[in-house]
Symmetry: C2
Subunit: 239 residues, 2 copies
């Protein structure tokens, strides 16, 4: 399948590499491909320059957000950071029409003037915007009425999303939410190909609120386990 | 031990009954004991009248919030609904000084004029206030500087908190957060007496933010499992 992965950060790279491994043709999207390839320094999260990473990962075609979206036949993974996602996706709405868009972003408000910029101290995360009475997933769906938005992957680091077996043999839970049953089924199939055995459909896209707000709890659990400098955990819904 | 349980709703009743069963002397607190005992109708959550329940549960002494707090030798469980908790607790601060107060409230904004009052449709919960950059747990700690506040129990229905074995033999995870290590240890011991085997200390009280915000995810999981009319699940942190 031809799958687009928008965004060139660590999450986007994890999905792109795994999708190639699974035999898909991957179209990676970035705002400005020339600028992305020209970078020679690690990005703000410490990832190596994209051009270097791309050379080590054959089978991935880099283009603009619009080119990547248009190249996908059914499925697009949104790895654009939360505060830029709505504007960037709206600009390429035509290429996303009638396709499934999986969104895993947390809508952190990155603002160097706020009290606790990233990286954050114990338990204090950047403010979420939107939060509680709306979600980024819903905002994207409203901006892209012709696209089938599915919120998923957001409760876990993306390196673990594409390789759930690193924790407890993969016996933990991944969640999907969205207003389009066929799109949720498509994402569930992708998750099974990634190795997930327990994918729970939470219901309509409004459940993206709880999924995004879980970000604070996820961080707190990581700190509580002493994993602030790396590590893996998952949550299993036991019933 | 003499333990106070403030609040006479379903959660307070679950803790009071279990604590008696464990051999403790329980002091239940309510705003106006005469009014509480005079009620003959089920409360807003469908619980039977408190007087009737109390007659079926010997060993519990009902008094005012202040009388119950003062009677506790070390430990007080706060089951006062979230939007009244700070004011009600501040009014009895003397009786709570130097004691451990476990808070499990979700600070739902109950307002009949808001779009989605309780009970809520799928995935849409009442607004949280505070949320994201503050928590009810922290508000209570600021209001009661002489008291050791521990946030716990909030990620689960209280009937399951006092009887975790109803799910997966009890092999799921309960969380504590607070700024006082001795108080967290005390609450952890109580949880072990309740039957919990996996109690994770998330860290300082600021982690109450994530714990309270998890309420939306908890409800979404319940709906996703088809438990909107009752049922049980837990989450296990697998690592």
């Amino acid at each position: 399948m031809k799958i687009a992965v928008l965004g060139t950060g660590g999450g986007g790279r994890a999905h792109a590499a795994k999708l190639v491994e699974l035999g898909h043709k991957v179209y990676a999207g970035t705002r400005d491909p020339e600028a992305t390839l020209a970078r020679t320094e690690p990005d703000m999260m410490g990832n190596p320059p994209y051009g270097q990473w791309l050379a080590d990962h054959p089978g991935i075609t880099l283009g603009t957000f619009g080119e990547a979206a248009a190249a996908a036949d059914e499925l697009v993974i949104n790895g654009i950071d939360g505060h830029n996602a709505v504007a960037a996706l709206t600009a390429v709405a035509d290429g996303l029409a009638a396709k499934t868009l999986v969104d895993y972003a947390v809508p952190y408000l990155y603002n160097p003037d706020v009290e606790h910029p990233w990286p954050t101290p114990w338990g204090v995360m950047p403010k979420l915007d939107p939060c509680d009475t709306d979600s980024l997933g819903e905002q994207i769906q409203r901006a892209l009425p012709e696209t089938k938005v599915v919120k998923s992957f957001v409760t876990q680091e993306q390196t673990t999303v594409v390789n759930p077996g690193v924790i407890a043999g993969g016996d933990h839970t991944m969640f999907v939410a969205g207003d389009h049953a066929d799109a949720k089924q498509q994402v569930t199939e992708l998750l099974k190909a990634y190795g997930w055995t327990d994918v729970l459909d939470l219901g309509p896209l409004v459940c993206a609120r709880g999924m995004e707000m879980y970000a604070h709890m996820h961080s707190a659990i990581g700190f509580g386990l002493g994993q602030q400098f790396g590590g893996h955990f998952g949550i299993k819904v036991v019933r």
